[in-house]
């Protein structure tokens, strides 16, 4: 029994039943398939994170965001005073996370590529684009670059899904995607 030492001393030479051998083989093949799926998706899939990231000083990142806001603000969101920014297609777009907001509101074009830079000014935050459901981890001191192409238009929310203190559940931002 499993609570006694093996009955045969030389247990490693015992033959193994074919059912067990088959299962180990089947499970091994499945494991390998799952392993190969990831590199496969890097080649043929269209949802992969880039490996592009830089160390960045939060202040410097904040300035990049302000530059973009100054150049490309098109309106303010209702009476909130939050700028809505429509940067040029294909450009470097900046979004910052801080206690407890996402800044600014971006307006992108459907089907166009943008180089989205994400970083935090203070603690860790979680970029969670809803209802699309794209979730990324945002660290202070790291500029996370993701090339993103919206495939649907409309109004989206960015909620924070990394616990960031008592205001965490108020940290929601917005993103617009317009048809071309």
């Amino acid at each position: 029994m499993a609570i006694h030492p093996p009955e045969t001393k030389i247990w490693w030479k015992e033959p193994v039943h074919s059912i067990e051998i088959w299962w180990v083989l089947i499970a091994l093949v499945w494991s390998l398939i799952m392993f190969v799926m990831m590199p496969y998706w890097h080649v043929y899939g269209e949802q992969n994170l880039s490996n592009e990231a830089y160390r960045v000083d939060p202040e410097y990142f904040g300035e990049k965001v302000e530059d973009m806001v100054k150049k490309y603000t098109i309106r303010e969101e209702g009476d909130t005073g939050i700028p809505v920014v429509a940067p040029p297609v294909g450009s470097d777009v900046f979004l910052l996370a801080r206690l407890w907001e996402w800044y600014p509101i971006l307006e992108l074009k459907k089907g166009e590529k943008y180089r989205l830079h994400l970083s935090s000014m203070d603690w860790m935050h979680g970029f969670s684009l809803q209802p699309t459901n794209i979730n990324l981890s945002i660290h202070p001191g790291y500029d996370f670059v993701v090339t993103i192409t919206p495939t649907e238009s409309g109004k989206f929310s960015i909620i924070c899904n990394e616990y960031c203190g008592i205001g965490h559940h108020t940290m929601a931002g917005r993103m617009y995607v317009t048809d071309k």
């Binding site: 609570i3 006694h4 030492p5 045969t8 494991s31 993103i148 899904n161 960031c164």
Partner: protein
Amino acid sequence: MSILSKSRICPETGLFFDDQAEKLIKWNAVTGVVFLLVGGAFGVLMALTRWTEVHILPADWFYLLLTAHGLDALIVWIIFFEMAVLYLASSTLLKVRLAAPKWAWLGYWLMLIGAVITNVMVLEGDSSVMFTSYPPMKAHPLFYLGIIIFAVGALIGTFCFFGTLVLAKEQKTYEGSLPLVTFGALTAAIIAVFTIASGAIILVPTLLWSLGYIAHIDPLMYKTIWWAMGHSSQQINVSAHVSIWYLIAAIIFGAKPLSEKVSRMAFLFYIFFLQLASAHHLLVEPGLSSEWKIFNTSYAMYLAVLGSMIHGLTVPGSIEAAQRKKGFNKGLFEWLRRAPWGNPVFSGMFMSLVMFGFLGGITGVIMGTEQINIIMHNTLYVPGHFHATVVAGTTLTFMAISYFLVPVLFRRELWLPGLAKWQPYIYGLGVAGISVFMMAAGTLGVSRRHWDNNFADATLGFDYPAAAHMFLALNGLSGLLAGLGGASFCIIMVGTILWGKKKGDVAATEPAPAPEPAVHQAGSAGSIAVPGTFVLALIFLGSFILYYYVNWKYLSEVWLLS
């Protein structure tokens, strides 16, 4: 057997108990159960708060108790119980006294003191940082210190386990190799050393940082090393509860492992590949390469997963073989139908096996797929998954073995046996519910660790789809059911210890014969085929493949990322 120590042979089970080991097993297990009670009660409050219409706690209390729930349930309860398992698997199964019992007691007290310190800090309200305590968010220094003291205690206990194995070898209390259960426990203990070392590497600097001696802790570095502890510790749990599955199969059915070789190899896979798993938690972080993520998240091509899939066949397989030997040979599943479903030791264990595999295992591998993680990271899918592994898997298994151990250790009959019969089903159903419904809400994007499903205080509001609120309500109801089951368990255990009918000390000199091993043949080759288990395993694989590709399909529908 040492002549210096007192010991006894249990009259019903024939098990050997060294006096000190027995006391330590009792104290560790009971302390664990107390923390389970506390942690579980907080869990119910979590589930009720996340139920949109009920929303029972204010925000600060929600985050505070969520921190306490994670710590007490995941860390304190489980590790105390694991200490009991280690002492049982070494001293009792090898029939040897415990090595260095004084140290083992020191370990126990350090763990208790550490756990209490950290709990007090959390309950005082300035350490609501979640059990993961990611910097730059800072907790009170004593919060980290408590965890460190707890870990030192656990490390000491682990070394007493190693010492006991050495002692047994020296005193030749067993012949040949370690029993499989002890081998599994050894796996857990080796992983524990690695885990605690990683914990020390990251928590000691964090403590110094919280005291102001270190200026900066890089959050990405912290997260990487913290999860070398955090994920490996889950591998301890898996090794421990799989060992107990084998143990229960042995004591209930007299089952013998189908093949020692295959089962041990599966345990070895855990040791070889576990260090890599930290990557599961880092799949959507900046600054780590895809190659690193893929290799590590798959534990080098999923070989640790392979280990679990092997146990998934061999544990029920050994039961099937034992049952068929007894003549339950009709069709594919008579062996299973005629199993003792009214015995909570068996029912708890078997439900745990099924839920760990189907709900916990499949979803964990899928969520740990580099790209698929993008649609799940930090959603409620994550707690949904790990309540299936760590609650339905580990906790339910530990409950099941408690129904066997507590009466044996305390020499009392089970209190409220009628309730005990139902408890695993109540708890199991509740836990299945919280797992499935949190995962369902997570699939719809609902965030974990989040107080307000309505975003009422956000400047830019957001509404989850109506179905999400429905799943959260069902999660709340399931939480109540799990709470009922968990409370029943604690009542039965405490009641047994305090008021259970005393068993006479008769026949203490004459050990009952250990049950006959059901499969005499060495190895499985000559023994009975296990077609029923094989069919179950294929059903499992089919579900796995289906759900795996369903998630790739979901992923392919989100915006393009490169």
